[in-house]
């Protein structure tokens, strides 16, 4: 088990620089080759094998579906109940609302409602296409809604190594997992171990060690978080940057241990502010680390507005380096 980006999991894996996008397909390819029960279901995915993203021999397990998100997501749930391990590609995260019954009422609850008679080993992939002038129907970051649905596991991988490791671990998990990719990361590269690299769930990664402020950054905000940490280091402020990697389960220990040392907590979350992942992490810190906190918790989030089309309006909404620097300065 290795969560370390760049650390070979099986001791023999060479480390390559590959993109987040390539890492996604390596995970699919390897898991489909390893386990014949793994099938892919989604829109426009027949091109996966035709474009060589997946081996042509896997074609019979790639179901390029009509545009029927609830139907094919529920079909995936039924397939998971009866012996397959489906990966349902919902394409863009905003489309998840069309499949809410399949995901929230069925996938999340079936193990529970049947008293443990059944399990639902299914993975839903949803890519968050914000920051691209796609307007409000294609730009949501809806993971907080699903964090409120017990029975689901929620992952927000931020590096090529983690997206590969999380997808592979999710496919092997016996519970439903929703993996929220950040589309802006798709073509960014990073070190990824070859071979069987698995990222454990509920284990945060400390992306940068520090002693003055704990900065929990969700998903694709790692970039701005690390840049802000670098800037502030030049001003003598040491930030510890933590990437939770999975939001359900959430690694309370790593976050609370860091807060115990720093006494200051800033959370950066690309989701909307109200009831976001940042709100949950803030609540956990307030409940369990109140005595260690020396300053009020600060959230840096996207405000509660639908995403507008024009870049002039859209870009300033998301957490930026300047927003984080300003938030940290408030704590001085």
């Amino acid at each position: 088990m290795s969560g370390e980006a760049g650390a070979p999991a099986d001791g023999s894996g060479e480390i390559r620089e590959i993109s987040y996008f390539q890492a996604i397909f390596e995970a699919h390819q390897e898991e489909m080759a390893r386990d014949e029960r793994v099938v892919l279901i989604g829109e426009d995915i027949s091109l996966y094998t035709r474009a060589g993203l997946l081996d042509g021999s896997l074609e019979g397990r790639v179901f390029s579906a009509p545009i029927a998100e609830n139907g094919f997501s529920g079909m995936g749930v039924g397939a998971a109940l009866t012996g397959l391990r489906p990966v349902v590609d919902l394409t863009i995260a905003s489309f998840i609302y069309l499949a809410m019954d399949a995901i929230v009422n069925q996938a999340a609850k079936i193990r529970y409602m049947t008293g443990g008679q059944a399990s639902v080993p299914i993975v839903f992939r949803a890519s968050m296409w914000h920051e691209g002038s796609n307007a409000a129907h294609h730009s949501d970051r809806p993971y907080p809604m699903l964090m409120n649905a017990p029975g689901l596991k929620i992952a927000v991988p931020a590096t090529p190594a983690d997206v590969k490791g999380i997808l592979k671990a999710a496919i092997r998990d016996d519970d439903p997992v929703v993996v929220f990719e950040d589309n802006s990361l798709w073509f960014k590269s990073g070190p990824v171990p070859a071979g069987d690299h698995l990222t454990p769930f509920g284990v945060a990664e400390v992306r940068r060690k520090g002693s003055d402020v704990t900065l929990v950054a969700i998903g694709g905000t790692q970039g701005v978080a690390l840049e802000a940490a670098e800037q502030l280091a030049g001003q003598g402020v040491s930030l510890e940057v933590i990437d939770p990697r999975t939001l359900v389960p959430l690694d309370h220990e790593t976050i609370l241990a860091s807060v115990a040392r720093t006494g200051r907590l800033v959370i950066v979350d690309p989701a909307n502010r109200t009831n976001g992942a940042a709100a949950e992490i803030a609540a956990i810190a307030a409940e369990y680390a109140f005595d260690q906190l020396r300053w009020p918790i600060v959230r840096v989030t996207t405000p509660d507005v639908p995403i507008p089309f024009s870049p002039a309006m859209e870009q300033p909404l998301y957490p930026s380096v300047a927003d984080i620097v300003e938030a940290v300065r408030k704590l001085q």
Partner: protein
């Protein structure tokens, strides 16, 4: 159709009927929490359809969920205990009346969300196709669900991939209190099959043998790789949408209810078997007595079973406990 099969049809119809009559009594006696959606009136449709399957085949059902597992061969004790919210219930007290899924007999889902189970059945068909295990999935739903998107999406999905699924509509003419004729653009739900290029058949849901024959044909077709079918059984529920539901105004004629009761699935099959000399009246009565005994034992088992510990509410949320989940 062998005599043994025809008698088994009768047994299953009677088993559903007597179980449901007992459920009504247990509810009135305050032994069942919540409300119950009874299958009384639907027995012929449900039993005829399930008997057209092999033991290894699967079914998916809906909120009117009691008849489905019984028709598929489930033991009654775990079902009655589930209705009473006991730890020995088939779902350990987590499901209740609308969700009597018994995986041991292939009942893989009973969805309380109207139409929610239809894609699941489609997925069981996908598994059968990919795994090549020869299974067929029978999907029960009502007239109301045939207006859900999940129904239309599923029929299209199953048709394009020729999945071994039989979509079986128990059309009891009312969605809660709304007459189906007021909310369906077509008179017969079966014609909706045309839009998906699959067979659509109408059958008399009160005639278990007719239902068996039509379903058997669809099941064979599915098993041979020729794809899904839609069957519409015209049936009727004798009671209210849910037992105990107080409905302030009449939404159906008493005469209509009485007319349907004249074509009772239990009586139709009994009379047919007696007239054909397959069953004597005495033997038919004995079967009734045997099943009444089964139901009594199920009730006794449920009554003497313990309630779950309150802490069991935290079990089975995930396969392995998730750190930080419980507080």
């Amino acid at each position: 159709m062998t005599d043994a099969l025809r008698i088994e049809m009768y047994r299953r119809i009677v088993r559903i009927r007597l179980f449901e009559e007992s459920v009504k009594k247990q509810l009135a006696a305050g032994r069942i929490p919540g409300s119950v959606h009874l299958s009384i009136g639907h027995e012929g449709a449900v039993a005829g359809a399930c008997l057209a399957l092999n033991d290894g085949d699967q079914i998916v059902g809906n909120h009117r969920s009691h008849g489905h597992p019984i028709a598929k061969g489930a033991q009654l004790g775990g079902l009655m205990a589930e209705l009473m919210g006991k730890r020995t219930g088939v779902c350990k007290g987590k499901g209740g009346s609308m969700h009597l899924a018994d995986h041991s007999v292939g009942v893989i889902g009973e969805s309380g969300i109207v139409g929610g189970g239809i894609p699941l059945a489609t997925g069981a068909g996908l598994s059968a196709r990919v795994l090549g295990n020869g299974c067929v999935c029978l999907c029960f739903f009502g007239d109301g669900a045939s207006s859900e998107g999940s129904f239309h999406e599923s029929l299209n999905l199953a048709a394009i991939w020729k999945l071994p699924v039989v979509y079986f509509c128990e059309n009891n003419l009312y969605g809660a209190t709304t007459p189906a004729r007021d909310v369906l653009a077509v008179e017969d739900i079966a014609v909706r099959a045309v839009g998906y290029g699959i067979p659509g058949e109408i059958v008399d849901g009160q005639d278990v043998e007719a239902v068996y024959r039509v379903t058997k044909e669809a099941v064979e077709r599915a098993r041979c790789g020729n794809g899904p079918s839609l069957i519409e059984a015209k049936t009727y529920r004798y009671g209210e949408h849910a037992e105990g539901l107080i409905i302030p105004v009449a939404y159906r004629d008493t005469a209509e209810v009485e007319r349907w009761k004249q074509r009772d699935p239990v009586e139709i099959q009994r009379r047919r078997l007696v007239e054909a000399g397959v069953l004597s009246d005495e033997r038919a009565d004995e079967i009734g007595d045997e099943i009444a005994g089964e139901v009594e034992r199920a009730v006794a088992f449920a009554l003497e079973s313990d309630l779950p510990d309150a802490s069991a509410a935290f079990d089975d949320v995930y396969g392995r406990p998730v750190a930080g989940e419980e507080r």
